[in-house]
Symmetry: D2
Subunit: 246 residues, 4 copies
Amino acid sequence: MIKVTVWNEYRHEQEEERISKVYPKVIHSAIAEFLGTNEDIKVTTATLYDENNQLRENAGITDELLADTDVMIWWGHIAHGQVPDEIAIKVKEAVLAGMGIIFLHSAHHSKPFKLLMGTTCNLGWRESDDKERLWILDHNHPIMAGFEDKRFIELEGEETYSEPFGIPDPDKLLMIGWYNGGEVFRSACCWRRENGKIFYFQPGHESYPTFYNKDVQRIITNAVRWVNPQCRIKLECPWIARLEEK
Amino acid sequence: MIKVTVWNEYRHEQEEERISKVYPKVIHSAIAEFLGTNEDIKVTTATLYDENNQLRENAGITDELLADTDVMIWWGHIAHGQVPDEIAIKVKEAVLAGMGIIFLHSAHHSKPFKLLMGTTCNLGWRESDDKERLWILDHNHPIMAGFEDKRFIELEGEETYSEPFGIPDPDKLLMIGWYNGGEVFRSACCWRRENGKIFYFQPGHESYPTFYNKDVQRIITNAVRWVNPQCRIKLECPWIARLEEK
Amino acid sequence: MIKVTVWNEYRHEQEEERISKVYPKVIHSAIAEFLGTNEDIKVTTATLYDENNQLRENAGITDELLADTDVMIWWGHIAHGQVPDEIAIKVKEAVLAGMGIIFLHSAHHSKPFKLLMGTTCNLGWRESDDKERLWILDHNHPIMAGFEDKRFIELEGEETYSEPFGIPDPDKLLMIGWYNGGEVFRSACCWRRENGKIFYFQPGHESYPTFYNKDVQRIITNAVRWVNPQCRIKLECPWIARLEEK
Amino acid sequence: MIKVTVWNEYRHEQEEERISKVYPKVIHSAIAEFLGTNEDIKVTTATLYDENNQLRENAGITDELLADTDVMIWWGHIAHGQVPDEIAIKVKEAVLAGMGIIFLHSAHHSKPFKLLMGTTCNLGWRESDDKERLWILDHNHPIMAGFEDKRFIELEGEETYSEPFGIPDPDKLLMIGWYNGGEVFRSACCWRRENGKIFYFQPGHESYPTFYNKDVQRIITNAVRWVNPQCRIKLECPWIARLEEK
């Protein structure tokens, strides 16, 4: 059983009616719902703001939650700055020790992602209802399971993101996004950082029903299984330290 | 002084009037001309067919030529099969020993490229006068010198190539091509194979005046300098062999 | 159920008494035996020479065998040249279409490995009963499952291999070998080539009982599961070809 | 002319007589001296402590210095914690904008290195006068210029570092260290982070005369030329931002 925690800043859905119409069940619940249909996945949610629109202490993330999470999914956009630095650092350290993590869409500018990447994670963007095609580069990667007969998946509308994307070159580039406005973007990227696996997936702007798309759901579900660690290693484990004397 | 040999199968220009109109000076001379304007580059050409449209022995490639070439540029399309296997193997071995090589456009299916990659090098394609934009992923790579103020370069017309491209993941992906027909392609790729550097660059279909484009010329010129070896190592050099006894 | 074919040239065990003493059940059977104890693995063997020391046609590899093999394991040393080129090419093509493959020890110079790598695969070597330590670089990779509490594994005796190793840089370097004679070697390397996963593992010289070592057995077993494809894609599948017209 | 700033915490040389005997001219001056013999390199030094053993403000690093530095070399060991966070962040940002940087030996735990890597950068270590051999993996990389005829370089004594080394897998692994005590280490590693190139080089413990070694000097000199940027890009440059409207 893979224990997944879906984290959402939970701002747009409470602040903007046009967004709450797209995600009446809020983004974290939309994600939790399709993940929860899998027998090998057990989902919890955590949010920066609570359902009364109040900022939670510690961004809703406790040490116990991190210790009990195999895979974290992160959605944030306008409230990155409200996540305390020490919480972002704890998330980073949990990943280095083995916790898998999936950053969705605008989480490219979240504190944990930027700490793990070591770069600005800047990109170009435009909100203009572009159509997006995500081209598959490697059909035999576990995250692409189920797409053997497809060259690409298509989204009728998404926010446009464009290169240059200020990231370390991915250990594995899985998909490249094409937008009819003229842009391309490295839309599905894998990295390992010490014992933890990281997946960045670009679709998921709050104003589009992207998380209801079956292809997107399958990719996120596959990614949960891929980032799921086979082990958690304490970063202070005895063999990462002074060597025995000869 | 970098000694460059531009190799061309030299078929379209002799067989098709519409192509000879685009490249009245033939493709290898068009490339040799802009390279030759650089003080640090000395250019030779070699061709599969001679100027009387006769197939040359050994694809026009001798051992002396290979030994005297720092960087080879390869353009081929409809006559890949007429390059003898033993010549393709000699080119591969020269690369492994240190000779730099640049494969242009349809050279993705040339014998030396496929031997060096170890894969099919298959791709999707369509001839439909698509516009192409080549997005830059890394502005500080030597091959991108001179493009510091640009996000992308643009070609009014090119043959469309599309993913999946059957190559080993590049050691370095420099540009991604966007086509208005809906496709993307890894258009500028770097690999090292033993002592030799390899650059694949997708633009350059025979029916478009791509090699007259100043941006394309700059990229190929930069690439010549980048693949140029600092040394040639004999693959039978004494230290790649049985170790001294203890 | 993963269908594994263990291929062995089967020369040393029939030609040299000192080797048949180390592997009285022959190398392919030694490997098949420990793999066969796993419920998810079904093992077959194939050999270049038969049990009467006669060279088999087609190196013992038929189209049917390749089509029915998920994962091939390759052991060869002194008879690489007796494997017909067309068989080596068929093995390569099966890998590009998705068949997983594991090359052991001196298979670094086998034809299929060299075809897939595109390089000489040369290295330095010495037979002097060196002790080897294989250091683990990534404890959370599936091939390292079960070694969470170890920095390295140790072999009392192995043939010494040394850098430079003439391979494309691995997509993933998992272990580095240390020899008390003073050498290092990239001993566990992963590559993807189109739809197929490749694992090279350096231990396994015929004169040492390496394949009886429990750590070695675990790594090879883990590797079988990692290279096992989730799908086989025809290299001529309709989407690797001319694009639909716009 | 490449403008190099050699930064040193400058503690051991003022605090420990046994170290000041090894480096009577102090570490930063020892490095500056051999670099300064090159016509294309202009060297400055900067230190955390001044020559009166007083902690400098801002670790001796001003905005002007960073703007006027093409390549920074960093040596630190026991005073990493005394470098202010905001200075470490400024160094990181200068790298992302294009400044080249070389981290030597125990700088693996310096703040700028850890910020750029995003990992713990932990390793195993032992001080026992081990002999080290650094094996060369790629003889045609610019940092290896001048070593065409060598398999490895050798240091009579160095601090032992061992895997696992808690770094992102290098974009390019150039050398692997072998220690007669039984360890291996990724001793020469290259990364790109946005517009900046990073080189980590493991030799250089304060108690050994490593920086007087001609091979070490050549590698550091080569590395200065390799990390030297061809351009500096403002991280807020207009094309890393909102795209033009269609």
